[in-house]
Amino acid sequence: MLFVIALALVACVWEMYKAIGPAEGGSILGLPLPKTTDRAMPHTWDMVRRLGEPENRGGSDPIWISVAGYAWYTFRLALLGLVMGAVVGIGLAVLMARFSFAERGLLPWVIMSQTVPLIALAPQVVSWSGKVDIFGWEIPRWFAVCILAAFLSFFPIVVGTLRGLKSAPPAAVELMHSYAASWWETLVKLRFPAALPHMVPALKLGATLSVIGVIVSEISTGISGGIGRAVLSYGQAATGDPTKVYAAVFGAAALGLVLFGLVVSFDVFVMRNRPHEEAGNS
């Protein structure tokens, strides 16, 4: 409900600016103001109406069906990217929680990895396909995109999981110690469950980053089939069909929300037996 209200508010702000802003743009105190012509800022209702019209002149199916197809393709890549990011992220966090030298040695690299701009990295990684093969399996271009998505999403997961693994109360750690539990048993029975409340928000961040990673990689490398390419090609049609690109933007937003929703349902499932005040604030 709140989401719908927020959406309506955004549309209102858009239309309000369009009504009062200068048609050919301008500047206030040196800040540029965007143009408000129909080509630069189409009406929100035109964007929505465009969803029902065919992708190309003469086509029969409305554009939202094509967009849904692209979004589904991108969604699968983003989901795989998130899963890969989670596996790598959780693995690294466990390693760092186990060996403090691993934490000291790895954490700077983990942080540094996030300062590398994805657009610079994407063409490199995509160019591996056809060149690099892992045990006879050649990396397809779509998998390179997944790697890039994982590269973005693993970061919050490492940080969140590491913090979570360290959040087990000292008394509980001592209790496990008094049972002569091994490090592994302590990890499985205590540290991991204790880490979950920290891991869920990290996974939520990771999910959105994974979607961004896939779309940006698609755009910067021109890989076809996904929503990123649709944003690119629809955008090129902006002169004659300014509302078309928004169909792709809506598709990207929707798939991000679906992936986010998936993580939220995972949250609800794993936290169903936890005290509610704790489950509620994540």
Binding site: A171, S178, Y179, A180, K189, N273, R274
Partner: protein
């Protein structure tokens, strides 16, 4: 064979540094099987440290600790003792019965055997119908009972308790003390019990070990002559008050020495 032997044990924290603390100096203590011994003293007297040494959670700087005739490390590896702390320390993601099963899981028991023992333990602490509840759905006193059930689950011959009732209100506390005594009586468990409540120490114990801080040491061991059959009436018995007075005076002796010592320091 004594259940616990503490042999000339000293413990120094931060040895050689400016913040060096002599937590315990030359402690000698033997606890016989089936005996209930309380450690009491002002904060900083090392009573918790002594308990943790027996549990092998920390290691003595000098001297050695024997539990059931074995080294403390071996006794911990064999899970010869159960432990309970002031915080119940229940895992909030496990049901009450699965919390009680935790030490049994780590011992490698199969599921059916674990479940049967958990039910037995729940009956012991009178929480039979709460096995499927989550810990946070229970009151503080009930959570502490679950923690005690967990400590008893593997039927240890020795129980180490660090102010287990410290966070409970007075009424729950007295009730829990009586229950603990009944369980120990029924199972023949040896208990080493850390507390800073004089009536609690006297009501529960066969012997009360009075400790003093800076450096931590044993200043007195008081035999409580209340016999094995203790009920709520015991709390109004003259012998109960006599023992309380005895412990209190031993503790007061420490306080006075502390004040005088403080003056000398300056």
């Amino acid at each position: 064979m004594s259940a616990v032997v503490v042999n000339h044990v000293s413990k120094v924290f931060n040895e050689g540094r400016t913040n060096q603390v002599d937590a315990l100096v030359d402690i000698e203590l033997a606890v016989e099987p089936g005996e209930f011994v309380s450690l009491i003293g002002p904060s900083g007297c090392g009573k918790s440290t002594l308990l943790r040494l027996v549990a092998d959670l920390i290691h003595p700087t000098s001297g050695d600790v024997l539990v059931n005739g074995k080294s403390a490390a071996q006794a911990r590896a064999d899970q010869d003792y159960g432990m309970a702390f002031q915080q119940s320390g229940l895992f909030e993601w496990r049901t009450v019965e699965r919390n009680i099963e935790l030490p049994l899981e780590l011992k490698g028991w199969d599921k059916a055997k674990r479940r049967a023992r958990a039910e037995e333990m729940l009956a012991l602490v009178k929480l039979t119908e709460f096995g499927r509840h989550m810990p946070w759905q229970l009151s503080g006193g009930m959570q502490q009972r679950v923690a005690i059930a967990r400590a008893f689950a593997a039927h240890p011959r020795l129980l180490l308790m660090d102010e287990p009732f410290g966070a409970l209100d007075e009424m729950t506390r007295e009730h829990m003390q009586s229950e603990l005594l009944q369980i120990c009586e029924a199972t023949g468990t040896t208990v080493v019990f850390v507390t800073h409540s004089i009536p609690e120490a006297v009501y529960l114990s066969d012997r009360v070990v009075v400790m003093s801080p800076r450096p931590g040491r044993i200043v007195d061991v008081i035999d409580v002559g209340l016999g094995d059959d203790r009920t709520d009436d015991t709390r109004e018995d003259d012998r109960f008050f006599a023992s309380i007075t005895e412990v209190r005076e031993a503790l007061r002796g420490i306080e006075q020495a502390e004040i005088l010592g403080g003056v000398e320091d300056r």
